[in-house]
């Protein structure tokens, strides 16, 4: 009874504490430096004033993030299937995948803008690039980590290669696939915002959250900046929440990580 009560109350108390501290710092900063940290009230007011702008920017970023994410999931699966064929195939492709992953997006973004022009297309590609690697690595790992005994069992039953892949290796890889998807889901909104920051459409005015950040910061609109940060954060939660829901739907019946006897 007592611990449960405490478990509900403590996060709430922490939240109240943080807000109180926030107000305290805001008022403690003194008149001329107060603008550096807008009060929670200022942030809420900014939400009211910039609501429609924030909403359309969030929608634009969400579109870019979702498209890039979905493309990464689909294409990474195809590539992972190919990579799972043999160690030789992996040895010949992994180094180049690593190069792609190791090159910072900040460096790739300007190149991309020159290639495909600024706007949603660039944002999608940047999100794709950032999500692709963890998806490929995890899914490939899953496809090649099939329990040796299960493979023996399938061979013993004279399963064909295709049966082995689709009835055994692919379902066995699902937990890994969803792990990759969870990582990619945290990266997708960040990728889209970073992409938008560099490649957002400045001319058409239909920018996303990254572009909005540039505008608000150039105008010293601190409340609006904080509001943008909050929306970005919320977008991240929506993505991760969506993937968690998907993975729960796919795995909860059979995977140990959802076992009810778990301690």
């Amino acid at each position: 009874m007592k611990p449960r009560f405490a478990r509900r109350l403590l996060p709430l108390a922490t939240g109240v504490g943080v807000i109180a501290l926030w107000y305290a710092v805001h008022f403690g900063l003194g008149e001329e430096r107060r603008f550096l940290l807008p009060s929670p009230t200022d942030v809420v007011r900014a939400f009211g004033e910039k609501g429609p702008t924030l909403w359309s920017a969030a929608l634009s970023t969400a579109t870019g993030a979702l498209a890039g994410f979905a493309a990464a999931v689909a294409l990474s699966f195809v590539l992972a299937m190919f990579l799972s064929l043999s160690t030789l195939v992996r040895a010949s492709f992994y180094p180049y995948l690593m190069i792609l992953q190791m090159t910072p997006i900040i460096v790739i973004a300007p190149i991309l803008i020159l290639w495909v022009g600024p706007g949603l297309k660039s944002v999608m590609i940047i999100t794709f690039l950032i999500c692709f690697f963890p998806m490929v690595v995890n899914t490939t790992q899953g496809l090649i980590s099939t329990d040796r005994n299960l493979v023996d069992f399938f061979r013993m039953c004279k399963a064909t290669r295709l049966q082995e892949i689709f009835l055994l290796r692919v379902p066995a890889a699902m937990p890994y696939f969803f792990t990759g998807m969870r990582i990619a889901a945290t990266l997708a909104p960040i990728g889209a915002i970073v992409g938008d920051f560099y490649a957002g459409n400045s001319a058409g005015g239909q920018g996303g959250l990254g572009f909005l950040t540039i505008i608000f910061s150039s105008q010293f609109q601190m409340g609006a900046l904080f509001a943008t940060a909050a929306v970005s954060c919320l977008l991240g939660f929506v993505f991760v929440g969506g993937v968690l829901l998907l993975s729960w739907l796919a795995l909860h019946k059979w995977h140990d990580s959802f076992s009810r006897t778990d301690t």
Binding site: N149, L150, F153, M156, C157, Q163, L167, P171
Partner: protein
């Protein structure tokens, strides 16, 4: 009577590794329950893999019902040390897997799976996922899966090794009870002398480095065997004898 499985001077090594099995020769008759026992690394499990066709020979010949192993021949089913169930399928669907792999139609599959699960006393667990079953129940499903294809030869590689003694004794009795209803020839690998004596009519004691057939002990106890069999003096005597042979083999390599 033609033997169902015959080993002729069989030799096995993996690649350039040490010789695992050397000069193995025996003839198993239809209905035999043969247990292979011996020190770890004596190649007991390898013999099962050879019979199953999972692994090729390095020398000699294995004849299964008058055909060489590679040609398929008699229906064989394998029960592994682990239950090796697909965790994303229910118990019933797991039992269906071997039939599904060979394209048996769903209605027949379902019917056979039900019958097989009933045989191991799990008719009411068809809809459960492996995660929801106990260790003993998972092993039962694994056995039901092997039996679902009506095998003529059943290969069991320490299937009860990971279970507690009570469950193991119980499953031993169940296995023999199932055997009363179905005619299969069994090859059973174990480390437990009492299990070997209880189940089989022939116990092969192997020595290691390389694995050789050291001695065969015939178990004359009449079937059906039950709980009471374990109390009989003859059973106790045979357990003592197999233990003695096993100890002498182990001393050989100590």
């Amino acid at each position: 009577m033609t033997p169902i499985v015959e080993f002729k001077d069989v030799r096995k090594r993996y690649g350039d590794g040490p010789v695992i099995l050397d000069g193995i020769g025996f003839a198993a008759q239809r209905g035999d329950f043969i247990t292979l026992i011996g020190p770890s690394g004596c190649g007991k499990s390898t013999i099962l893999r050879l019979i199953s066709g999972l692994s090729p020979l390095s020398g000699g010949q294995i004849v299964i019902d008058r055909a060489a192993t590679s040609g398929g021949g008699e229906e064989r089913a394998f029960v592994f040390q682990e239950p090796t169930l697909l965790p994303w399928l229910t118990a019933g669907r797991n039992v269906e897997v071997p039939m599904r792999l060979r394209g048996v139609n769903p209605a027949l599959r379902d019917e056979m799976a039900r019958r097989s699960l009933a045989l191991v006393g799990l008719a009411d667990r068809a809809g459960y996922y492996p995660m929801q079953l106990s260790g003993g129940q998972k092993m039962r499903v694994s056995i039901a899966r092997a039996l679902s294809v009506s095998p003529r030869i059943l290969l069991l590689d320490e299937p009860f090794g990971a279970l507690d003694e009570m469950t193991r004794d119980h499953l031993n009795e169940e296995l023999l009870a199932i055997r009363q209803q179905q005619a299969w020839t069994a090859f059973f690998v174990t480390h437990s002398v009492s299990e070997a004596v209880f189940l089989s009519n022939r116990v092969f004691v192997l020595s290691s480095n390389p694995g050789r057939l050291h001695r065969e002990v015939r178990i004359g106890l009449p079937y059906p065997r039950t709980e009471d069999t374990r109390l009989s003096a003859e059973y106790q005597r045979l357990v003592a004898e197999v233990s003695r042979v096993l100890r002498s083999v182990e001393r050989l390599h100590a």
